[in-house]
């Protein structure tokens, strides 16, 4: 059974920062651009959460935009 392609994600490593996660997930992008993309694709972490941007071990962090 082949699974349909879904939005790719990673989960944070212990004590991983946004910078480290962005560098790991999007190594081909400049760090600031990678961080901006991660922020924009993960509003559940970087907009809806208090405190904003608190990365939790159980988080799903998308590394690509929503599929159209």
């Amino acid at each position: 059974m082949t699974l349909t392609v879904q939005r790719r994600f990673v989960t944070p490593e212990p004590d991983e920062t946004l910078e480290a996660l962005a560098a790991r997930a999007l190594p081909d992008l400049p760090l600031e651009a990678a961080m901006d993309r991660i922020r924009g694709w993960n509003l559940h972490i970087f907009a809806m959460r208090k405190p904003r941007g608190l990365l939790l071990g159980g988080d799903v962090v998308f590394v690509e935009p929503p599929q159209s």
């Binding site: 349909t4 879904q6 490593e13 208090k50 159980g58 998308f62």
Partner: protein, 556 residues
């Protein structure tokens, strides 16, 4: 000699097989014979009058953990035909829990499940810390069967103390959590629950959310030793994240050979494709051999509230939540402070809350004037020349905050769509939340609603399918031993009901919680008798003195 024979029955045995006219015999708490005709004498007989005789219903998503300590029937679940319940969902249970950590865990229960503080302080005595002790406390007075989950957040607190909601666990701590989970499973817990969405009373993520996937994987390895369930609360408001969770569950299910379930799953008019995508992903994972059960409730999302207490209705309005969580005096001070009120109205939206609140209906309340009952907030606001948000605040203040509003059909209300979803073989009916959200809605009667709306109403399920969904299939999904079917050897959990009448009563407030606390309830409709382990537990005349409930044993 049989203890009881139920004659003149329409036997619906929980397998989905066609109903037939027959009889059911019970002895020593077990079913000993089922068929068109049961031979042998009986100490007692019950004439079912041609009504349906089915296995007792099983409710797989409840939060009766604390109520069971003073009400072993989990009222009113039992009178709706529910004979087995699964508490301990959403990462929360009442064991294992050290005395020093009770306040923190009770705070989570109060915040997440909207339970009043008195429920934890005046109705029972805390006599346990470990799971075995909790089990003993529960077993003192059960009238209903209980199959409890142990909560991941609580296990984290047990092992990590105050660090549980601060950081990832070290390898030694993960190993300790595995040991604790193993002890709980050996002492009667039927699985593990975790949450990816909930926050505590300080709005901080609950401990389970700080766990790395490796921690959950390690705990699922222990579940795999027993073949037990993992239940999660995913980020149900977002289909992409929910699908990611389904994939994680599938990985855990395949790796460890365990069943998993996620709840809730709602249909939503605003994003109708979401539920199809989510269930489609589950189906793909089932096809791979993973067991990833979506739990779907039968009833629409109705939420009632007053400004007397916080409500999940305001979940997306943090300022409202902050104001309503204050003690009464401070709350009234905030609600009469022009600057605070202006900000609350602003937060309600550029339309003054009309989109969010305009369709709210006044349902009455201790102090609510009769002339407001049944009116929408928009009608009231227009008459007052105010915004909806301001009218909500001021009408409440004028009546001591004791004005109840109903947000009806807030989603999951398209019966033509939901019926076929509930009928899918890969959808698990549940997610009811019994024993929680007491002042927001009454989940009781979700089973009756299944029959009234989706069997008699839309015809999406046959009577036999509907019964199987909430009996035999539920027992099989969870691995409950000897429950869910009418066949010899099974526990005699039996409900007699009228298929032409079964439903749910109107939602109404009652004040039977500890400290005269309020909750919404619904009376049963069309249920005529409920037996638990062979003993008559409820009839329309009321509850009996039977205390035949048990902690459920697991198959395998």
């Amino acid at each position: 000699m049989h203890d009881l024979v139920i004659r003149n029955a329409r036997v619906v045995d929980g397998t989905g097989a066609p109903a037939y006219a027959g009889e059911v015999a019970v002895k020593d708490g077990r079913i000993v014979a089922v068929g068109p005709r049961v031979e042998g004498p009986a100490r007692a007989e019950m004439d079912a009058g041609g009504k349906a005789v089915a296995p007792g219903f099983i409710d797989p998503h409840t939060h009766f953990d604390v109520q069971l300590l003073w009400d072993g029937a989990a009222k009113p679940s039992l009178e709706h035909g529910v004979t087995s319940i699964i508490p301990g969902n959403c990462s929360l249970s009442l064991a294992p829990l050290r005395a020093a950590d009770r306040k923190a865990v009770v705070g989570m229960f109060q915040q997440i499940e909207e339970l009043p503080p008195e429920a934890f302080t005046i109705a029972f005595e805390w006599t346990w810390e470990d799971w075995e002790g909790y089990r003993r406390a529960l077993e003192k007075g059960l009238a209903i069967n209980v199959a409890p989950l142990v909560g991941h957040s609580v296990i984290r607190v047990w092992v990590m103390g105050a660090d549980a909601n601060q950081r990832a666990a070290r390898p030694d701590e993960i190993a300790a959590m595995q040991d604790v989970l193993r002890q709980c499973l050996q002492a009667g817990a039927i699985g593990l629950s975790t949450s990816f969405v909930d926050v505590d009373e300080n709005a901080r993520p609950v401990p389970s959310r700080f766990a790395q996937f490796a921690e959950l994987d390690a705990l699922c390895a222990v579940l795999g030793e027993f073949g037990r369930m993992l239940q999660i609360v995913p980020e149900f408001y977002d289909a992409d994240i929910t699908i990611a969770r389904i994939d994680q569950l599938a990985e855990l299910s395949l790796k460890h050979g365990i069943p998993t379930t996620y709840s809730p799953v709602f249909d939503n008019r605003q994003t109708p494709a979401s539920v199809d995508r989510i269930l489609g992903r589950s189906a793909e994972q089932f096809a791979r051999g993973a067991r990833v059960w979506p739990q779907m409730q039968t009833r629409p999302i109705d939420i009632s509230f007053s400004l007397l207490r916080p409500s999940l209705f305001f979940a997306r309005l943090p300022r409202w939540v902050r104001v309503l969580r204050q003690p009464l005096e401070a709350r009234i001070a905030s609600l009469t402070d022009p600057e605070t009120v202006a900000r609350m109205v602003e937060d309600a939206g550029p339309d003054g809350g009309e989109r969010l609140m305009g369709r709210l209906v006044v349902r009455g309340g201790g102090e609510a004037p009769a002339h407001l009952a049944g009116k929408t907030l928009k009608e009231i606001a227009d008459a007052r020349g105010q915004s909806c948000a301001l009218a909500l605040i001021e009408v409440s203040l004028e009546h001591g905050l004791d004005v109840a509003f109903l947000s009806a059909n807030g989603g999951h209300d398209n019966t033509d769509r939901i019926g076929p979803l509930l009928a899918r073989p890969d959808v698990h009916i549940g997610a009811g939340d019994g024993g929680a959200h007491l002042a927001s809605f009454a989940t009781y009667g979700d089973t009756g609603y299944l029959f009234s709306e989706f069997v008699r109403g839309t015809g999406a399920l046959t009577l036999e399918q509907a019964v199987a969904k909430i009996t035999g299939e539920t027992a099989a999904i969870w691995g409950l031993k000897d429950r869910g079917l009418l066949k010899p050897g099974q526990a005699a959990d039996i409900v007699v009901f009228d298929p032409d009448r079964i439903g749910r009563g109107e939602e109404r407030p009652i004040f039977d919680m500890p400290g005269d606390g309020m909750r919404y309830t619904r009376d049963s409709v069309g249920v005529e008798a409920v037996l638990v382990n062979g003993e008559l537990a409820w009839t329309p005349a009321g509850y009996t003195d039977a205390k035949a409930g048990r902690i459920c044993e697991m198959a395998g």
